[in-house]
């Protein structure tokens, strides 16, 4: 009931809640890992009450936090009569930890649609909007692989709804896209492949790549590679740098073979290494 009141009363002109109890806030900036989905949405990972991680989109176009009904069901979080839930421990990857965050238990049509068609390349579980984002100064830079989140001493007021105005037909879109996805056989989650592992440390040489070290018991060790060997060719292609080898090995899965032409004591040899699992 109190929640409903907070939601309905205009807070846009009210001072930030809790502004009277100014606590010194540590000025630490959290480095939050993110990725861009294939739809160019900024995705961060979240654990709720220790469970997850779940995938959330950062969206200044959303007034508050939205958590999918499926995730809430799994976590045993019951929405109140107005559709709001409380998320006790809300942790964002990179160290941001929030307590008792209020959010909508709801499936926004955009998410349903993207999940239905597998558009984002991964399953999405919710949207982080204003009520969470506003507690931080956020830094976006897509040339880096982490974002900066600096806590502000700011308790954002709850947003208001546009009473009586609904976007007719919009919510049906999610359903339509989900249905289309089913017809097309699209799955929001893509299968995962891991690259094989050899156990050789390398350094760039003049005309070849030098083997610096071979880890005991690793696939490279088993195949007979030794420190000091010069790798001339990898999979039949001439190589001059560690990056050349990394590129040529990028698609090698565990149990597949890599063929190396090496020079040891002036003698050219061919070695086959069966990639293993590890990193």
């Amino acid at each position: 009931m109190r929640m409903a009141a907070v939601f309905l009363i205009s807070l846009s002109l009210a001072p930030p809640l809790g502004a009277d109890q100014m606590k010194p806030v540590p000025t630490r900036t959290y480095q939050v890992p993110y990725r861009l989905t294939s739809t160019n949405h900024v995705l961060v990972r979240v654990k709720i009450n220790g469970k997850g991680p779940y995938h959330f989109i950062l969206d200044t176009g959303a007034p508050t936090l939205f958590v999918s009904t499926a995730v809430c069901r799994k976590l045993g979080i019951e929405p109140d009569k107005k559709g709001w839930g409380t998320f006790g421990q809300f942790a964002i990857e990179g160290g941001v930890a929030l307590d008792n965050v209020r959010g909508r238990v709801e499936d926004p049509f955009q998410l349903e649609g993207m999940n239905g068609l597998g558009l984002a390349g991964t399953e999405l579980h919710g949207v982080i909007g204003y009520s969470v984002l506003a507690r931080f100064q956020l830094e976006f830079d897509f040339t880096k692989d982490k974002m900066g989140w600096t806590p502000l001493d700011f308790d954002p007021p709850m947003p208001q709804g546009l009473d009586g105005e609904a976007v007719t037909g919009m919510s049906a879109l999610g359903g339509i896209m989900k249905l289309l996805g089913a017809v097309l056989g699209k799955n929001p989650e893509q299968p995962i492949l891991l690259r094989g592992y050899f156990g050789m440390s390398l350094e760039d040489g003049d005309h070849a790549v030098r083997v610096k070290g071979v880890l005991t018991g690793s696939p490279a060790d088993t195949a007979g590679l030794r420190p000091g060997d010069a790798i001339r060719q990898f999979q039949g292609k001439a190589v001059r740098s560690v990056n050349d080898i990394r590129r040529l090995a990028a698609k090698l899965a565990p149990d597949q073979f890599a063929t190396l032409q090496i020079v040891r004591d002036g003698q050219t040899q061919i070695l086959d290494i069966k990639a293993g699992k590890g990193l």
Partner: protein, 274 residues
Amino acid sequence: MKRSLLAVCFLLALAAPLRAEALAPQSVSVPFDLLITKHIVVQIKINGKGPYRVIFDTGAPVSLVNTKTAAAAGILTKNASQTAFSLFGPVAPTTITTLEIGDLKAQSVPVVVMDHPTVGIISKVLGPVEGIIGFPFFARYKMTLDYQAKRMTFAPNGFEPTDVLQTLVTSLMAREAPILEPIAPAALWGFTLADKHDDERAGVTVQEVRLQGAAAKGGLRAGDRLLSLDGRWTDSVADCYRAAASVKPGTKVPLVVDRQGKQIEVLVEPAPGL
């Protein structure tokens, strides 16, 4: 079929490829307002015309301008063949030669001309809003966003956003699953992980740590439960590979492990290799 699919998926072609900014790499500060719905609104000028009020939206994969404003600003394409059908009515990709947001000036910004229903409703209730500025614009900058100060800053970072339409079309048209690249660690760490069998505990278990390897030198041990690598959660083997994919050889990063109930941090500098 192709056409209707396109229509459903936002159908927003981005016109011209982005060009490098002619701006000095210093940061420009732009004030914004908040609607009662907590949408961010900024004032923009389109090719010197305006100002127009638009929503700034990090969740929008395209920028858009309504038909009325596009016509007034003279960016409405007359070529009807470029107009495609979508659920929201006609959608036309075009390019704004000069887009100004406060003191920030950007060149050749792709937008679509489209009457978005949500923008329409907000406009009706809360005063004129003529469009949305989204990812293709702000991705070009290192951007900070501060709701408390109601201020954003922008500094060009050279990032070139991908064309989201192209990606979507490719993904939707693909009859077979896309060929996936394996997740490749960027360096050699010298440890292996135990397979995870539906276990709900946080982290993954380190199976073997190779003698003389980078992980061994840093103090990682077999049996450690690896909770994070360089600040990234490692709740699955794939997670751990993904985290390792972004650590360049020669960079020392923290690994947080649970070792017999105690949480400790070890520092590991992975070597060039694989």
